[in-house]
Symmetry: C2
């Protein structure tokens, strides 16, 4: 991806986090990114193409603040905790990404065009988490009885649910993190 | 609540589930409910008052298809499973309520006026679930080590996350129900 494409997608995430998916007009995005609308159409085709790439971009950007930090963990269990807990941080980039992701999912309930790209981006994230769970099992720090895919789908769903409660003011970030830690322990425990 | 108020709130839930919170105009609601806009203002004050009562109404309506059925369970553990699983049913009333609830939560990220009533409605739901978990513990069908409030917040958050994945087309309802059953087992297990 070129720097120009990246800066357009960064701007799209900011606009969605500020004004919602319905607030994302190509004209407004061009103003935010400081370029022409023609350049947006040149790089992303239509609005649907732009939204699809924006979803992928949120995933890749989140990987920047979760996977990189998680890779520094000393074992797969620690890596899993970081990978998930770092989705719940009160920093501007996490807040912006999580707001945009939640808004895109909420919009997909009403807008069928968003469903397939959202399902695909979700699958990529779930598979990453399942892979770390498998490694934790292989190293003996997670119960061999846990189903990695079930656990990964539940934990990522829970992250989405906790994130929405936090962003919508029903829960503090500290509480959300505590609850997520407990869920990871419950999912990976012997039983 | 009068029949008239109930029919206005039912109409508000339908309009939100169809057109989103931003699509809820008092004029449109009056047309949907077959009454005058003046009567809406008479019963609910302003739009904020209407949205607050709509949130409460979704909770009460959901209690109709979860608590009543759950009360028929033979023990508190069965009651808990029904209380949560019946939030994931592919029926028109559950789909409409869940769509409206998810939309109201997503809107609260952008609209501060919605936050306090949403947090309050969430608290009522969480407390109901925590209470059933306490009864399951008292009857020996749930581990005494589980923290009822932590478990209730996690399980209701997970219901919201699963519900949004289902409604946005990222997950089948059968898969969502299977994952929720596994989470209840993990939360209430001895460990």
């Amino acid at each position: 991806m070129s720097e120009r494409q990246k800066s357009i997608l960064d701007a799209a995430v900011r606009v969605i986090a500020r004004a919602g998916v319905r607030g994302l007009r190509v004209e407004q995005l061009a103003a935010e990114a400081g370029i022409s609308t023609a350049l947006i159409y040149y790089h992303f085709g239509d609005r649907a193409g732009l939204l699809r790439r924006t979803l992928e971009h949120i995933n890749e950007d989140a990987a920047g603040y979760t996977q990189q930090a998680a890779a520094k963990a000393t074992d797969a269990r620690g890596e899993l905790e970081l990978l998930l807990l770092l989705e719940l941080q009160d920093t501007e980039s996490v807040r912006t990404n999580s707001t945009a992701w939640g808004e895109l999912r909420a919009s997909a309930v009403f807008n069928e065009d968003l469903r397939e790209p959202l399902a695909e981006s979700t699958r990529v994230w779930v598979d990453e988490v399942a892979e770390v769970i498998r490694r934790a099992q292989a190293s003996g720090s997670a119960s061999p009885l846990a189903d990695p895919l079930d656990a990964a789908e539940r934990l990522t769903c829970l992250v989405e649910g906790l994130s929405e409660r936090w962003l919508s003011g029903s829960m503090t970030i500290a509480r959300a993190r505590k609850l997520l830690r407990g869920a990871i322990a419950a999912e990976l425990a012997e039983r």
